[in-house]
Symmetry: C2
Subunit: 516 residues, 2 copies
């Protein structure tokens, strides 16, 4: 057994059964070893940002890590933006980066690169597996490190000779560290905050955005009058009919200030205290209202759901959560607008869908329009590195082939990782992409104003995507994905229903004017 | 004057007059400042790998740096692969990476990232410009560092508040370090090597691949019987009618072993001793033949052209260089093959063209077919990070709008940075892309065999691009670039001539079967 075979066998034994890959020469023994371990599925992507984003989307839905396969420093670099998003989502990923053979590094061949420096920027787990006999044990350690609560990117650097050498040994799975329980005193102290009579906001994140945490938060809010919020960019938010609808904290500092107006206590559960996404001249970065106290119930990585349940049992023993009734908007009519397209989504969303949301400015009114739709998951842009939607949708569809995946994708963000469409076609994934084509970096038009910069024609030119207009129908078809164009609400509804009904990927180029 | 204005003004004063940009919120004051410095041209790209590759191609042709504008760690990550290639090309680039405001970093907002670690992997120059009043001086230092011989990537990290703050001061250009002259003793000692009567190889690289260095190398070879070679992946190689034709060292170790067979002395001029691109089990990494001596005439960063001229004056005082006669293949006929498409290029290449060569396996026979074509420059994949061709062609066309740019682009490498086509359309650049569509990662099929890995069906699946086939005509048209498909040599020739005759970008999807 060579090192690569021991690596893949160890991964499979630890229940890592998908590898998103964009390999090169130094990874050829890993690629060849896939044929010796039939349980491992290899999924090819044409760009590493698709590989890493797909691994993120996969794990958010599967609840366990996928592996990646990347080619030296440049491959890791290309994958870095979506690994950044995964880091912010606390997504477990086993990131395998091939490198030159150990004895070859001294020659400074063209692809020689400082993989450790690049990987270290992810603040996760990094190990170089220098010896064939250690590769299995290092792989098992990587899987555990990826899954140690709350989850992280574990990067295993695999020199080519460690991969091709004989003498590989598989290693049994290492149990990851489970989330640490919150101590009883903290639970009691935080419960008391809800009894002060002063206005309280409860801000939940991480695993608390799943059904059990939402129910506990809803009970607390209903019983105590606290305002409950979900963190701005949850990794995975369960919502829709039969679940509590809890408002997300806004992206814009102005929104958050409005949402938290008058609050005297903020209870943090599974996330961090609210801060501004960017700095703006003369505006605060810290969004905790002046004079408000922050109380941490559960830090990121602690067992937030259990802690919320314990608080709920103290302050809301007899209170049921407030559950969302079924309610869909009617299909609107006429030309698509930033206001009406979200109603089309609300009207047509199928049961048990997964939404990979990179609608950005176009999606401002999406939450209201879909609150009463059938139960669904929403995956969001946790790290702010655009180009996440298409890959994450791809990985989510690999994780849940039976579920419809809806990728709401703004045009400006689409081009970073557009080749995800090809992987969707290749794997016949049930992903429907609604490409929100407003022909602008609309969010930057807004941000240019918000930072107080005085832009002229040259500045505006750098935020404009209309010269030339992109034809996403042709681009999608060029990558093997059937595509149509919708300019009216009726067309969008009809095309969505057709796309959901037919297996495999589809793209709808939805011509929606910019909000601004 | 704010910091951003002082930065751009300082860049322009130092003759940096193009900025390839993919900005975000933290760069909005830089974007706005473009309107106050009319001499700076902003060129928008939809992905950072296009930004950095374009900056590389620009500098290789313009002989001076462009600036980039990137958005925090994820933006730098996306640009890293082509910065790696630029590093290997010793290309001067002024890499501007926006960051959060200094006071905002403590809040660990979603885009907070370890920019320094990522930038340090490039082994260039990195500085964070913390104070508005220092931004101009730091920019001048960055331009100088980028241009200090032999050239490098200089990364200036620009916090948003340093950018928007008032009190910016421009800084006069700082003269960069020119290449160090080779001392007379070394010149004399190396000249003596050519007189030993033993077989000598002269391996030139860097600036020696331009006309003057090629002429000196040709004289030395003609007078002494030494075999002259150009390094495997030169940054910019001048060739064609009227210039010496000097063979490039091969990519495959087996080729190099053949080329250097029997050599007893290798004289290195402006490059490094030959090493294998990758390690292969049981094969040497060091490609210097056993028993051969290596003599360094000029290291990378020394004045290699002058040193070659001095050696030539000692050993070849009365010898003229051997200059290539005009000679073009006839346009072949029939279906395209890996053998005949290069003849179409040789037959149709216009005067004074720039070839951005990422043909990979498809281009094996290109050098012979174009040796006697009109004089042209060839830009090559210096660092092995694929996805370089389209961006480098884009930047080269910005640098030399009057010259025809021909991008020979393999399909497997195209999808990394495909949105370069959109920038070509937007800027109406004279780039003709020949997309060599062999529907495979053909080089990896070869490498799978060469590393001795036994691949089965799953491995072959990961090297196959034919499921689904990509339609590059549609993809290009979707990005605003007119496109046609060629399946015969006649069609390719006719479409090439049409593309060269018409201003603006074109793409030809050339259906060429794989070599293997």
């Amino acid at each position: 057994m060579n090192g690569a075979q021991s690596l893949i066998r160890t991964l499979v034994d630890a229940d890592v059964e998908v590898c998103f890959a964009n390999p090169g020469t130094s990874e050829m023994h890993f690629v060849a070893a896939l044929d010796t371990v039939p349980e491992m599925r290899g999924v090819l992507a044409l760009f590493e940002g698709v590989v890493t984003g797909a691994a993120d989307g996969y794990a958010r839905i599967a609840g366990k890590p996928a592996a990646t396969l990347l080619h030296l420093g440049p491959g890791l670099g290309n994958g870095l933006a979506n690994l950044h998003n995964a880091r912010r989502a606390n997504t477990p990923i086993v990131n395998v980066v091939g490198d030159h053979a150990t004895y070859h590094k001294q020659y400074d061949a063209p692809l020689e690169s400082d993989i450790e420096s690049i990987a270290s920027s992810l603040e996760g787990w990094v190990r170089r597996s220098e010896h064939t006999k250690d590769v299995g044990a290092d792989a098992a350690a990587a899987v555990a490190a990826a899954q140690d609560a709350p989850g992280r990117v574990a990067t295993l650097i695999l020199p080519a000779d460690a991969s091709w050498g004989e003498g590989g040994e598989t290693c049994a799975p290492i149990p990851p560290r489970v989330p640490q329980a919150v101590d009883a005193t903290t639970v009691k102290d935080v419960a008391a905050v809800f009894g002060t009579g002063e206005p309280v906001a409860l801000l939940i994140g991480g695993d608390a955005c799943r059904e059990e945490g939402l129910r506990a938060a809803s009970r607390i809010a209903a019983a105590t009058g606290a305002k409950a919020f979900v963190e701005t960019f949850p990794s995975r938010l369960e919502r829709g009919e039969g679940l509590p609808t809890i408002e997300r904290l806004g992206y814009l500092a102005e929104q958050v200030t409005y949402q938290l107006d008058g609050i005297k206590h903020i209870v943090i559960a599974g996330t961090k205290a609210p801060v501004s996404f960017f700095a703006y001249p003369g505006k605060p970065s810290d969004l905790v209202p002046e004079g408000a106290q922050v109380h941490t119930l559960a830090s990121v990585g602690q067992d937030v759901t259990r802690a919320l349940n314990e608080v709920a049992d103290l302050v809301a023993a007899d209170t049921e959560p407030e559950l969302q009734q079924a309610s869909r908007p009617a299909v609107p009519s006429g030309p698509l607008t930033p206001q009406n397209w979200v109603d089309v989504i609300g009207a047509t969303l199928p049961d048990n869908a997964i939404i990979a949301d990179e609608a950005n400015t176009s999606g401002l009114m999406l939450p209201a329009a879909t609150a009463g739709a059938p139960r669904h998951d929403v995956l969001t842009l946790t790290g702010g590195a655009i180009g996440y939607g298409m890959p994450v949708a791809t990985g989510a569809a690999v994780a849940a082939p039976e579920r419809p995946v809806l990728n709401l994708q703004s045009d400006g963000s689409a081009l970073y990782t557009i080749s995800a469409l090809w992987t969707q076609a290749r794997e016949n994934l049930n992903v429907t992409t609604v490409l929100l084509n407003n022909r602008a970096y609309a969010i930057l038009r807004l941000e240019l104003q918000r930072v107080g910069a005085q832009g002229g024609p040259k500045a505006n030119e750098l935020l404009d995507l209309s010269r030339p207009d992109m034809d996403f129908v042709k681009i999608a078809e060029g990558m093997g994905v059937p595509a149509t164009r919708a300019t009216t609400a009726e067309e969008l509804a009809e095309q969505l229903q057709r796309a959901f009904a037919e297996p495999g990927p589809h793209l709808i180029d939805a011509v929606v004017p910019p909000l601004l």
